[in-house]
């Protein structure tokens, strides 16, 4: 009987239980089939009716990249002394893009799918999770371009670099999803939350080593102070640094692997940050389930 439902047993032997009781994120992955369909719908609907379609996923970051490259790199000279700074900049932008997409899309996801949320008892985490995967699909072409760019400039990674790349992605997934869950729940009650996201994303963009290299900060008067430590407590900063370690560092040689271009013990910091992000995600899930019961009536 593989016809059986993924969610609840059918038949008189099924237990008497509370309807719609959910196991949160675990239930989301138990219903992978629905998740896949929702992700597919998200990807298809985003550019439906547009002639250029998925190409927009390339155009917007390309323009942004061009502007940053010109203004920050050439006019302001923020990347002076950074070889292959295009790869340096782009690897950071990819991560920040993935994060902001997950965060802002996830925050809006429950309100957007209110029609379903009000009518069906589903694990509601489904919607932020599916937006995370949708933004992953949209970020992937950028990673390909980044990879091609890194190859051209002589990318030859070791295991450490691959680990760094994977770790960076995992941190953004866990941390971004956690924030998206809490904000999605908040957004049901007060639509102010989707506006906070924009502000928050702007803050993230400037508080990661995207438009300036990490070395500029480490060597500035703020280097070695509590401020730098605080800066390194930002999971997205760590994720960006990990991604730069993965794509940029191997193109410029081993002398760039450590300080001042990267904080010391970057991989260890990454592992720790991933663990912290998972704890954060578990916490956010609990907050989400606390408010979930009121979604249907408040939408």
């Amino acid at each position: 009987m593989n016809d059986q439902l993924v969610e609840r047993a059918v038949g008189p032997d099924a237990p008497l239980e509370e309807p719609g009781a959910t196991g949160g994120l675990i239930d989301v992955f138990r219903r992978r089939y629905l998740l896949t369909l929702l992700v597919r719908k998200g990807v298809q609907s985003r550019y439906s009716g547009s002639v250029l379609g998925l190409l927009w996923s390339y155009i917007q970051p390309a323009v942004q990249f061009g502007l940053y490259f010109f203004v920050m790199g050439i006019i302001l000279g923020l990347h002076r002394g950074v070889p292959n700074f295009a790869v340096h900049l782009f690897s950071a932008m990819v991560m920040v893009h993935f994060f902001t997409e997950t965060f802002s899309g996830g925050t809006r996801s429950i309100v957007q799918n209110r029609q379903i949320v009000q009518k069906m008892a589903l694990p509601r985490e489904m919607f932020p999770v599916s937006t995370m995967f949708v933004s992953m699909v949209h970020t992937f072409p950028q990673v390909l371009i980044l990879w091609a760019g890194a190859l051209v400039t002589g990318w030859s990674p070791s295991v450490t670099e691959i680990v760094a790349g994977v770790l960076g992605t995992l941190i953004v997934m866990a941390f971004g999803l956690g924030l998206a869950l809490v904000f999605a729940a908040g957004n049901v009650f007060f639509r102010d939350f989707q506006n906070i996201v924009a502000t928050f994303s702007l803050f993230i963009r400037w508080s990661t080593p995207t438009i300036y290299p990490y070395s500029r900060l480490a060597l500035s008067s703020l280097g070695g102070t509590w401020f730098l430590q605080l800066y390194l407590c930002n999971p997205i900063s760590i994720a960006v640094l990990l991604f730069q370690r993965c794509f940029w560092a191997p193109t410029v040689g081993p002398q760039f692997n450590g300080p001042p271009n990267f904080p010391p013990h970057l991989i260890e910091r990454g592992l720790l940050m991933f663990a912290v992000s998972l704890v954060f995600l578990a916490f956010c899930q609990r907050v989400f389930s606390k408010f979930e019961g009121k979604f249907a009536e408040r939408l």
Partner: protein
């Protein structure tokens, strides 16, 4: 017997908020107006439904029928008391939920079926039946945004009535569709009833409740006012007055009977 639905002193409180922004709230507070009011949409309701029973849920608009269905389907949780169900719940409660106008009918069938809890295999197995029931012909591969409202609703309906379930909740049953489609729906509802599923049937049409159900629950402002025999329930609601008139008018009896059943009098 096997209990299918147990509602035990369940209550659901709704809060009406009159003001949403800080500015409005401040102004209201200064004028000493109330900021919010709470009321019980479902008030201390208790009943049990056995497996295979068909129960009509009746009551005037705003009496809490939909809220009670949402408590049973698990979309909402009771604030007090508890609601327990056995097995999978389906029904005409989320027809067309998640239909995306830019996806084709075919894609939407799969998505909607998955939302209703069907597996890929189950959807594939029933796909032809669903399409036949919806009767949308060659529009199947056009985006549903181009469908007429009737076609859109029929497709949603078709998916919903084909989901395997133990409990079937039928709200808004005959709100859509033309006459032939309504007839088809009624026939399908009877099939569902005969298959031994627990059925909760929400309707204002006394005749169709009489036909479908063997028990009636009547809600009055959130309180369970009546629980028992179908005819008594309809009398309790005074819905039988209309019946008397209609039966009295001779000639188009059959026609009227049909209208009654299909809820055309609403």
């Amino acid at each position: 017997m096997n209990e299918s639905i147990v509602v035990d002193h369940a209550s659901k409180r709704f809060t009406m908020r009159y003001h949403r922004t800080i500015k409005q709230m401040t102004v209201a507070a200064m004028r000493r107006q109330t900021l919010s009011d709470a009321f019980l949409a479902v008030n201390d309701v208790t009943f049990k439904i056995e497996q295979g029973e068909s129960v009509g849920l009746m009551g005037l608009n705003g009496s809490g029928k939909s809220t009670l269905l949402k408590l049973i389907s698990g979309v909402m949780r009771p604030d007090m008391g508890r609601v327990m169900t056995r097995g999978r719940i389906a029904g005409l409660i989320a027809t067309g939920a998640g239909f995306h106008p830019q996806l084709t009918g075919r894609e939407n069938v799969y998505l909607n079926a998955a939302i209703l809890g069907m597996s890929e295999y189950e959807t594939k197995r029933k796909f032809d039946q669903i399409v036949e029931f919806a009767d949308i012909g060659r529009f199947l591969d056009t985006p549903v945004g181009f469908y007429s409202s009737g076609m859109f609703a029929r497709l949603g309906f078709a998916v919903a009535v084909h989901a395997d379930s133990d409990i079937f909740l039928a709200d808004e049953v005959l709100a859509v569709g033309d006459r032939p489609f309504k007839k088809k729906c009624m026939a399908r509802m009877e099939e569902i009833k005969k298959s031994g599923k627990t059925l909760i049937y929400v309707s204002h049409a006394a005749a169709s409740v009489r036909k479908m159900c063997d028990r009636v629950l009547v809600l009055e402002k959130g309180v369970l006012g009546f629980d028992g025999n179908v005819d008594e329930g309809i009398r309790y609601l005074h819905y039988d007055d209309d019946d008397a008139e209609e039966v009295g008018s001779e000639g188009m009896e059959e026609q009227e009977d049909m209208d009654e059943q299909l809820g055309a009098d609403i």
